[in-house]
Point group: C2
């Protein structure tokens, strides 16, 4: 079951360990926007500090290293994804689970177009996703549902195509001018055609 009442001693797997302070939240939000525009490697702590309006030292007081900020951003991005995949996993059929997950991922990606790009496109983030256990577990659950229970090349390519299309389409220049509602509807409809006939 998902965490609900916050008992103090809850290990809580790999979730954001505690309620983040306002200062921490400001750092993560600024970092998220800058990561999306310049990439993680292209974003310095000075840039983050300037965006918030404080000095580097103040940022370091919240996160002892840049890696910590990257982890926090990853947690923020993956929190939504974890919720969506959990919902999908409760569906009865695998086909229906995949549809629910795709729709949920589209919603997430469209609502916060920033995040989608970072998550699956930044080389630094990809390394974090591969190395940090909790992140990898979420991605494995996503991939499993997207593959629909199979593991053959066709299923792998389908899952890779779905994930890449969602994350990439919402930040594509051609989608930039579209409003959220239009983009969501069109993208959902288009991706449906990608799924196996039921």
């Amino acid at each position: 079951m998902p965490s609900e009442a916050r008992s103090p001693a809850a290990p809580d797997s790999g979730a954001p360990s505690a309620a983040p302070t306002a200062a921490k939240t400001r750092v993560v939000e600024a970092a998220l926007a800058l990561f999306a525009e310049h990439g993680i490697a292209g974003t310095s702590l000075s840039m983050i500090a300037d965006a918030i309006g404080v000095t580097k030292a103040a940022v370091y007081h919240q996160y002892p290293a840049k890696d910590g900020i990257v982890v926090a951003v990853a947690e923020a991005v993956l929190a939504g994804l974890e919720q969506v995949v959990s919902a999908a996993e409760t569906e009865r059929s695998r086909a229906r689970a995949r549809e629910v997950l795709v729709d949920g991922m589209v919603d997430l990606a469209v609502e916060q177009r920033h995040m989608a790009g970072i998550l699956q496109r930044d080389p630094v983030m990809l390394r974090f996703l591969a190395e940090h256990g909790p992140f990898r577990r979420v991605m494995q659950r996503v991939n499993r549902v997207l593959m629909g229970g199979a593991a053959d090349p066709a299923a792998r390519v389908l899952a890779a195509t779905l994930a890449a299309a969602i994350a990439g389409a919402v930040v594509h220049p051609l989608a930039e001018g579209l409003d959220d509602a239009t983009l969501r509807v069109q993208l959902r409809r288009r991706l449906r055609r990608l799924l196996p006939r039921r």
Copy 2:
């Protein structure tokens, strides 16, 4: 008409201005591999120099600034794309042109999985594509064919989805273990389903 016989005084729009020297080629190849792994912002001139086995100064002698290397890499990547889109544009029907372009883009992306990722995913490269005229023109031609002559939201999302799916799927972790032939076949087949019925 596309350039054919290389007359010495040909302005040649925005193509790689001359035959690159061997040293220049080494720089571009090393940079391409490093950009793909670490991102452009995450790749320093020292890394490029070390990969070739020379010093930074030697690299600077070939390209007066890091931007120059990025442009050269972009030219190398876009050269293939330009060829594919030119071939597609000679097709009679728009539907057929789109199929040819998608197949060609899949071939390019699979053959050189490095390049695909860089081209449409690196924030620095995206800025170059948007700002440099010659690059933007190629991308416009690609987008026009992918949209199939229309410009409505449905066509835009289709084009964005196709481009994102191709570039993203080939570098997705799930596709990493697949051999080129399998990936190409599966990806072509899957993307066909994305196209409008004819």
